[in-house]
């Protein structure tokens, strides 16, 4: 078949495919460099100086975290407030907090959390999203979970639940006992608290703000 026009020429399309692919790839790599610098984990100095990071350092567990509407950005963002006790302390060093987060992230993978739950909205859809679980009113002083587990703080209630989930059913769909130890549970709760401080561009929307919208008060 004679090539009558460039539009029916295989070499033209082959080269176009190579150029388009190469261009997209270069753009992706450039954007990845920029994203990597923007999502690099912050450190303790950032937190003390009030420098906002998309992913704060592990010592964010020493602080109170809330999720508030930002007029400037048009959606909710995590706000890091004053000091707050976490398992009785608010002076975790960078090393201690880092070790807890490391343990929690390992635990998150070792227990296959994302094959029932979603984290940052990714995972399985058999159990609630955990992106902002730390901020869930269910675990707060007004919620049922502290009374259910017989604990007086959010972190202790969460840790107790994680160790014996089959004793505290919240639904017919119960979390199974995954052999989580007390130490691992503490790491997992630190991981959850840290995750709630990540700037997720307003996901999930209206988190924890809409209690009673369906059932009325």
């Amino acid at each position: 078949m004679a090539n009558k026009s460039v539009w029916s020429d295989n070499r033209f399309w082959k080269r176009s495919a190579a150029w388009v692919t190469g261009f997209s790839l270069i753009l992706l790599i450039l954007l990845t460099f920029d994203t990597m610098s923007q999502v690099a984990m912050g450190n303790d100095a950032d937190l003390q100086n009030g420098v906002t990071k998309r992913v704060p350092g592990p010592t964010v567990i020493n602080y109170k975290i809330t999720y508030e509407m930002s007029a400037k950005r048009g959606h909710e963002v995590p706000v890091i407030g004053e000091k707050e006790k976490f398992f009785g302390r608010d002076d975790y060093s960078e090393k201690e907090a880092g070790a807890l987060l490391h343990l929690g992230k390992l635990g998150q993978q070792a227990k296959n959390c994302m094959d029932c739950h979603t984290l940052l909205g990714n995972g399985a859809y058999y159990a609630p999203d955990l992106t902002k679980a730390w901020l869930d009113p269910a675990w707060g002083p007004e919620g049922p979970m502290q009374a259910m587990t017989g604990k007086h703080t959010k972190e202790e209630a969460m840790a107790e639940f994680l160790q014996h989930p089959n004793q505290y059913p919240t639904h017919a769909r119960m979390m199974p006992d995954l052999g989580i130890t007390a130490k691992e549970a503490k790491g997992l709760v630190a991981f959850l608290k840290h995750m709630s401080s990540i700037d997720t561009n307003g996901f999930p929307r209206n988190f924890g703000k809409m209690q009673g919208a369906v059932h009325g008060k």
Partner: protein, 477 residues
């Protein structure tokens, strides 16, 4: 499967392909079986609780999915290489050895998932039990094994392509498979940051299923059109290059639609929205391509006065057409439904995603790979024309119909989740279960299970047909 016709040039490569296909079909069955377990658990949460929990059933469901598809993809390449290059595959002995290594490793990984399930929160679990990252939970030791096996496969492909005739299809496959193998490396490290974790995890998952795997499907479809219809190679390969340009042009930066909410900067909203909105276009092109070539070839046969069908393998071609439709519908339409950030803010992490995932993996990949099974049966039995049997028609209809029904059910479930759990209740633990307890959600899950049973029954018929059709009298020798 009788292998008496797998002789001559390429016989070894084809035989290896049948091994890959056989193992793939078995794992396909396992995928459906564990999917059924998970679907039952949505309806009856106490089912196998504490023995085979949802998380384990789902790990096996989605890992088996990836594994059988990769096996069938490798099988497809070993099957078509002799046809394309005109020579026996280079290094076929190593290829055969690697098959057994790969299969054995998969069996060990699955047994550990089933019987060990979880481990302590330390590196030994990551190395030997599970990495806990969806689709690629396989422990680190297996990662290294997989890399070795895949590099061996890529080497087979490259040396054969360079020694024999390097057609356009082979060139595309060479470029595509090296990218496919390389991307796996992005999922092989541990990080404390969940944001960083998800950023690179998506490089593997997205750039596989929305870029390299799609290009693979384009190449296989091109091969199928030439083999089954006798379509003109130059035209088919020109389409293939256009599809590669469109698939990579939209798919690579379409990656951005996974970066909306993981902690990455806002500019991914615009980039992800724009490029992922373009992703359905090549799928339309592929759909048109298959139907156009079919009509054109049949039309010119009709003009010559030959009114019999130009299709030399009816079941395979049926699956290839289902691929063209399913890819567009499952990956294209169901993907586009929720790809814009304004919508995705509410649909992200709901059954909407599950609906899209089910129809896309089935439509884009399962279909064409089952089609390749049928091409292998035709070749293995030395048949001139492979016709439909009652079983092949029933199994195809049940599987395709069941998958579509499942997708509709999951879409309805997703809709309830979006309205109740997300829009009204604000995504908390209580909001989640309010959505799950809704009547529409519960009924949708019942329907999903019923449709799953139909798909599984269809698979049993498919397996029987694959094993028996070679000896049926309906075919032309």
């Amino acid at each position: 499967m009788a292998s008496n016709h797998l002789t001559g040039i390429g016989g070894e490569s084809r035989q290896l392909a049948t091994w890959y296909f056989t193992f793939a079909a078995i794992i396909f069955g396992a995928q459906l079986l564990f999917g059924l377990v998970a679907a039952i658990q949505f309806v009856m949460p106490g089912f196998l609780y504490g023995i085979l929990d949802f998380s384990i059933a789902r790990i096996i469901h989605i890992n088996a999915l990836v594994v059988w598809m990769v096996f069938a993809m490798f099988g497809s390449v070993y099957w078509l290489l002799p046809d394309e290059t005109g020579i026996e595959t280079v290094g076929i002995k190593i290829g055969k050895l690697l098959f057994w290594v790969f299969a054995a490793a998969i069996v060990v990984v699955v047994l550990v998932y089933l019987f060990v399930q979880v481990g302590p929160a330390d590196e030994t679990t990551i190395w030997f039990i599970t990495e806990g990252r969806e689709y690629i939970e396989a422990p680190r030791w297996a990662d290294f094994g997989i890399v070795v096996v895949v590099l061996g496969f890529v080497a087979n492909l490259f040396f054969t392509g360079m020694k024999g005739k390097q057609t356009g299809i082979v060139t595309v496959l060479m470029a595509d498979m090296i990218a496919f193998a390389g991307l796996y490396l992005a999922g092989m490290f541990f990080t404390d940051s969940i944001t960083m974790d998800q950023y690179w995890w998506w490089w593997v998952i997205h750039l596989w299923v929305e870029a390299t795997w799609e290009v693979f499907v384009g190449a296989i479809a091109a091969y199928g059109l030439i083999t089954m219809l006798g379509a003109h190679r130059k035209v088919v390969e020109m389409w293939l290059w256009i599809e590669v340009a469109m698939l990579f042009g939209s798919g690579i930066l379409g990656l951005g639609h996974h970066y909306f909410w993981i902690g990455a900067p806002e500019y991914w909203w615009e980039i992800g929205a724009l490029f992922s909105a373009l992703e359905p276009l090549p799928l339309v092109a592929m759909f048109v391509h298959v139907l156009y070539d079919w009509g054109k070839t049949q039309g010119s046969a009709d003009e010559r006065g030959d009114t019999s069908s130009v299709i030399s393998n009816k079941p395979a071609f049926t699956w290839f057409v289902l691929n063209a439709v399913g890819n567009f519908l499952g990956a294209g339409v169901w993907g586009f439904f929720h790809t814009l950030p304004q919508i995705n803010l509410y649909t992200h992490g709901t059954q909407f995603t599950a609906a899209h995932g089910h129809l896309a993996f089935f439509g884009a990949y399962a279909t064409i790979l089952v089609g390749m099974f049928y091409l292998a049966i035709q070749g293995t039995n030395g048949l001139k024309i492979l016709n439909h049997t009652k079983l092949s028609i029933w199994s195809t209809s049940m599987i395709a119909g069941g998958m579509m029904g499942m997708t509709v059910a999951l879409t309805i479930a997703g809709y309830i989740q979006v309205v109740v759990s997300r829009a009204q209740m604000g995504a908390t633990w209580a909001a989640y279960f309010d959505g799950q307890n809704g009547m529409w959600f519960a009924q949708a899950m019942d329907w999903r299970l019923i449709m799953g049973v139909i798909v599984f029954a269809g698979f049993i018929l498919l397996a029987i047909d694959l094993l028996s059709t070679g000896k049926s009298a309906v075919h032309e020798k």
